[in-house]
């Protein structure tokens, strides 16, 4: 790894010193991978950290089909992360030091946040397999790639997706209706 010049060239060097195929995958897939991870960990910064880590591992392992590989690794990391987070919460609930920043959120920001929470809740109602297939499709993977990653038959992806989409929309609408009822 060559390091030279200022910070700017540092980053350029790094990018060009990546194998071209991975650099290309990085350009095309990074955002999708962050989005995919975000819908699992629900924390934008964590999602970015994990995505960076996934690419770092791809550089070391040099998988043949980097795109699919990245999503497998990312899914595993997100799962481990969720477990660890749950464990930490149990141990450290009483010890959190940093007080929550009191952000004066605008109405618009609140609306965006509650929409996000509704979608999160709706996604939670899907079966893990349906959710995974839906998120992978939304990340831009083909039926072929999704099948390879999930172990499902290629012919089953369409059926799974149709079910997942239907449930997502239904659960979202039901959640919204439920809120209105609850508010009276």
């Amino acid at each position: 790894m060559s390091w030279s010049g200022s910070c700017e060239s540092f980053t350029d060097d790094t990018l060009t010193s990546m194998p071209e195929d991975i650099a290309e995958v990085y350009r095309t897939t990074y955002r999708a991978l962050v989005r995919f991870l975000y819908r699992k960990v629900w924390d934008a910064e964590r999602a970015e950290d994990l995505a960076q880590e996934a690419f770092a591992r791809a550089l070391i392992h040099k998988p043949e089909s980097a795109r699919g590989w990245l999503f497998i690794v990312a899914a595993n990391m997100a799962r481990d992360d969720a477990r660890r987070a749950a464990r930490e919460r149990r141990h450290l609930t009483l010890l959190t030091a940093e007080p929550q920043e009191s952000t004066s959120a605008t109405d618009e920001a609140l609306e965006v946040e509650s929409d996000r929470a509704r979608v999160q809740a709706a996604l939670d109602e899907l079966s893990p397999r349906d959710r995974e297939v839906l998120l992978l499709w939304d990340s831009g993977l083909s039926y072929e790639e999704i099948a390879a990653q999930t172990g499902l038959a290629r012919g089953a992806i369409g059926t799974t997706l149709s079910r997942a989409r239907r449930r997502l929309v239904q659960a979202y609408e039901a959640g919204k209706a439920g809120e209105h009822v609850a508010r009276g």
Partner: protein, 344 residues
């Protein structure tokens, strides 16, 4: 041909059907109004599902450059260090109680060592608040705080000799913090204080951690960026830079934790507003940092030198920046005047 099932319809709309299959669907749709209607419904469903997922997307950011700092073998991340830290503190506490109960005479002699510290800490903060000085970040710190004021555990003989040569406040810290098997880590700490290298991170992560861009010396190539944990600070980011082929410096960016600030303010208010209360508090925070780094000390982790005692410090915005490296302190001081935020 029979009606098109949902799965085939979604695959058709997703453009994932083989050409022959797609032609079959086309042929059926041409003669089946019911399936044509379903195509409209399913297309709307697909669009709707996509819209909903878009609502649950992270804020769109520019593609961050991939940084080689992340390619280094992954080390333990700070949130993975927390629990072991708590365990270490538990072990230290248990050792301390054990040796206290086990050797009464030693406890008496050691008490004379510990007492000055206790007195000192009363100078530093309001009475009865030594434990509160510690931010309750992990289980480790409050316990260590109590340990520092209690009779210390028995360090290894070499450690004791070394300890006797340093100021009383430092003695108690090593006694409290260095477990017997690794006194080396505790001793080395006194020379100029140590920081542990944490996990390598990207500039973007560093910025997120600090709430501002990390500072670095302009013109010197950045070798790596690390994050590490230090008690009293919400985030610590170290930018490792090469001045030349064999001179490495570390630009340490610290964001003081909100809680620690609060405690410091409270402590200063009740400390009889002594003239040197700021200096005293600074010493206290240094002591905290030392406890933290010695607790986290692992033989495998190469320490970075950090001239804690008279480290040149520059406050820039919300950050405390200082530079450590194998250079005379006036050079470091000069370098410190040339730090600039790392550009994305």
């Amino acid at each position: 041909m029979s009606h098109v099932d949902d799965g085939t319809l979604h695959a058709y709309l997703d453009g994932e059907l083989a050409p022959a299959e797609a032609q079959g669907v086309d042929a059926h749709l041409a003669q089946c109004p019911a399936c044509r209607a379903r195509v409209q419904e399913e297309r709307a469903l697909i669009t709707r599902a996509g819209e909903l997922l878009a609502l649950a997307a992270p804020p769109e950011r520019e593609l961050p450059p991939f940084r080689a700092g992340d390619v280094r073998p992954l080390k333990r991340l700070w949130w993975q260090v927390r629990l072991p830290l708590a365990w270490a503190a538990t072990v230290v506490l248990a050792l301390g109680i054990g040796s206290y109960l086990g050797s009464g005479s030693r406890a008496v002699t050691d008490r004379s060592v510990a007492e000055p510290l206790a007195d000192r800490s009363r100078e530093l903060v309001a009475p009865d608040t030594p434990a509160r000085l510690m931010p309750y970040r992990t289980a480790a710190e409050p316990r260590v705080a109590k340990r520092a004021a209690a009779p210390p555990a028995t360090p290894a003989p070499t450690a004791r000799e070394e300890v006797d040569r340093v100021a009383p406040e430092r003695k108690a810290i090593v006694a409290a913090a260095a477990p017997a098997p690794t006194p080396q880590a505790g001793i080395a700490m006194f020379e100029d204080g140590l920081l542990l290298q944490g996990s390598p991170i990207s500039v973007d992560s560093a910025r997120a951690l600090l709430g501002a861009a990390p500072f670095s010396v302009q013109g010197a190539p950045i070798r790596a960026i690390y994050q590490t944990r230090e008690i009293g600070y919400a985030a610590v980011v170290i930018v490792e830079q090469a001045l030349d082929s064999n001179t490495l410096i570390n630009v340490v960016n610290r964001r003081p934790s909100a809680l620690a600030l609060e405690v410091v303010v409270t402590g200063a208010a009740t400390a009889d507003s002594r003239a040197d209360s700021v200096g005293a508090l600074e010493r206290a925070s240094r002591a905290r940092a030392q406890v933290a780094s010695s607790l986290a000390a692992k033989p495998s982790a190469p320490p970075i030198r950090d001239e804690t005692r008279n480290r040149p410090l520059r406050r820039v915005g919300t950050l405390e920046v200082h530079i450590s490296g194998p250079l005379p302190s006036d050079s470091l001081q000069k370098l410190l005047q040339h730090v600039q935020p790392v550009k994305p």
